[in-house]
């Protein structure tokens, strides 16, 4: 499945959007302008981008605490996201949710999630709703290597398979759950091997290769749309930053980081695009400029937006 040019360009845009968005947050967090925690997606852009490029607007995703990339890749609005992370009333959640709870149901985004493994059960529900309503939509559930050990994740894999739900589990294996390396949290090397426990296909892909992710997820989405049930795609990747901003990251070594920074998914993809003639160097630069501008606008929007008023505190508890 080779994506068409439009898709390729969109992927390139998306990856850059995530990269620049996260870098902005890194700076603003360091400057003390962002409340709470942020978990940045830097280095993992290819996973969200590749996976969401395999989806239509009507398809759905559940995300994680490290959700900005997923949300942007699924079409999340830069301004509304930025404003939310800045705690402003104009944000996606009116300032009530923050980085870990951004959602856009209209775009099929069932929310970032502060609970590791929390998205799996919700994803089964979204996928079941599609099936029940014969809606032909697919749900992608993003989850980390750490989350793969949480019982809720495993229950979700099981239900999805027992019920043949149109659900694709995209595992982002960045090697760590906070400070805990994968080898200490589980005995297996490939999380994809867990798929067999639920009789679903399990595939390992290079998570820093956006096309590889796209291809594997597209395949799984096709299966899901055909009523053949769920799949598990493990994307091996790495997070460049600490678990959250402020994490000194003493548990990893510089060599490991350097090695992975060398596998930066964006230049790799750009090189391919340029080589294949899909995008010229100049076009690539123009895209980057445009996105940088959009992000500046989002920052301006966020910073100029008011904070919510305490009188709004009790709104939206009930429907």
């Amino acid at each position: 499945m080779t994506p068409d040019k439009k898709t390729l360009v969109h992927m390139y845009e998306t990856m850059n959007k995530i990269r620049m968005f996260e870098k902005k947050l890194q700076d603003f967090f360091a400057a003390g302008e962002i409340p709470g925690f942020v978990h940045l997606y830097l280095g993992e852009e290819a996973v969200a981008t590749g996976a969401c490029s395999a989806l239509t607007d009507k398809d759905k995703i559940t995300s994680t605490h490290r959700g900005h990339g997923h949300l942007l890749a699924k079409g999340g609005d830069l301004k509304l996201m930025m404003a939310e992370i800045f705690g402003r009333k104009t944000g996606y959640c009116l300032g009530k949710g923050g980085s870990m709870h951004i959602a856009d149901l209209d775009l099929g985004i069932l929310g970032a999630n502060g609970i590791v493994g929390g998205g799996g059960p919700l994803a089964t529900g979204a996928a079941f709703a599609s099936k029940y309503s014969k809606a032909d939509t697919v749900t992608v559930c993003f989850f980390g290597d750490g989350a793969s050990n949480q019982g809720t994740t495993q229950e979700s894999l099981n239900l999805a398979s027992a019920w043949k739900l149109p659900l694709v589990f995209v595992n982002e294996n960045n090697g760590y759950g906070i400070s805990c390396p994968q080898c200490k949290s589980m005995a297996v090397t490939d999380i994809a091997d867990r798929a067999a426990a639920y009789d679903m296909p399990g595939v390992v892909v290079d998570g820093n290769d956006v096309l590889a992710v796209f291809e594997a997820v597209s395949e799984a989405v096709k299966r899901a749309r055909n009523g053949e049930g769920p799949s598990l795609i493990e994307c091996k990747t790495y997070r460049w930053r600490g678990h959250f901003e402020g994490d000194a990251c003493t548990y990893r070594c510089q060599e490991e980081l350097d090695e992975w920074m060398g596998k930066d998914p964006i230049p790799r993809f750009e090189a391919k695009l340029v080589e294949s003639g899909a995008v010229s160097k100049k076009e690539a630069a123009a895209i980057q400029d445009r996105i940088a501008k959009e992000i500046e606008e989002a920052v301006t929007f966020a910073k100029q937006s008011p904070f919510p008023d305490p009188s709004e505190l009790l709104d939206n508890v009930y429907a």
């Binding site: 009530k96 149901l105 059960p121 529900g125």
Partner: protein, 323 residues
Amino acid sequence: MPEKTYLQALNEALRQEMERDEKVFIMGEDVGQFGGCFGVTQGLFEKFGEERVRDTPITESVIVGCAAGAAASGLRPVAELMFVDFIGVAMDQLFNQAAKMRFMFGGKATVPMTLRMPQGAGIGAAAQHSQSLEAWFMHIPGLKVVIPSTPYDAKGLLISAIRDDSPTVFLEHKMLYGVSGEVPDEAYAIELGKADVKREGSDVTIVATSLMVHTALAAAEKLKADGIEAEVVDPRCLNPLDKYTIIESIKKTNALVIAHEAVQYAGPGAEIAAMAAEEALDYLDAPIKRVGAPFCPVPFSPPLEKAYIPDADDIVAAVKSIR
């Protein structure tokens, strides 16, 4: 009006709502052909088929989470946990996901799910199959908590819970399933958050829930023999709580006793007592008494279980200590 059991009333509510609205479906362990552990979903599988009456694996987290996700995606799930005691493996999906989603997302999600759970002791099912856990659910902003005591209330409140757009916990008492009462054949809704005065009286207000409503009514009959007229108020919902009806009753009787089967310490009655001590203290001429389970797990052996469950004499004694 026809007589039906609490169980039949619930079953009828489910059937009628499923007929009315295609978006309503049922999920849980053994709710299909088996008809549910206590029989509440009997016949629905045959009538609506397995797409709409869905047996799940033993996977409570996913039962609750799948319901929440499906609700946020436009359906109206009615999920069942076989016993409320099993919520411990699924609490996260209830309190951090279903209940908070709407608020966290700035009002952009609607989660019209109902979670039915049988509660209570009385069948020798011991410590892990006999609890009453409504106090936990009351403490969760975003949830509604319904706890019917009669067949009539059970049907009308379940219909309302299903139609309600917020996630609702619906707590049935297993000793009530066989209790009969008048229940209209047609569908009807009882507003959530409206108490019902099950007996009028002038001398003491007994706020009681679930099975304890019946125990309180029995106690009231005993008290009547001693010239004490008890008013029995059944809140029917613990969230929203109908403070108004409770306080109006206190204004009339000037005394409050609260009866529930849950463990008394930090139980549902604590909130009702605290509310009264804050908002109606001037009308109270005696200490507020609570009658609830003692501070221990539910024991197995019949004489211990009997001692554990508050009875009419316990309520009578509480009333007599202040009246």
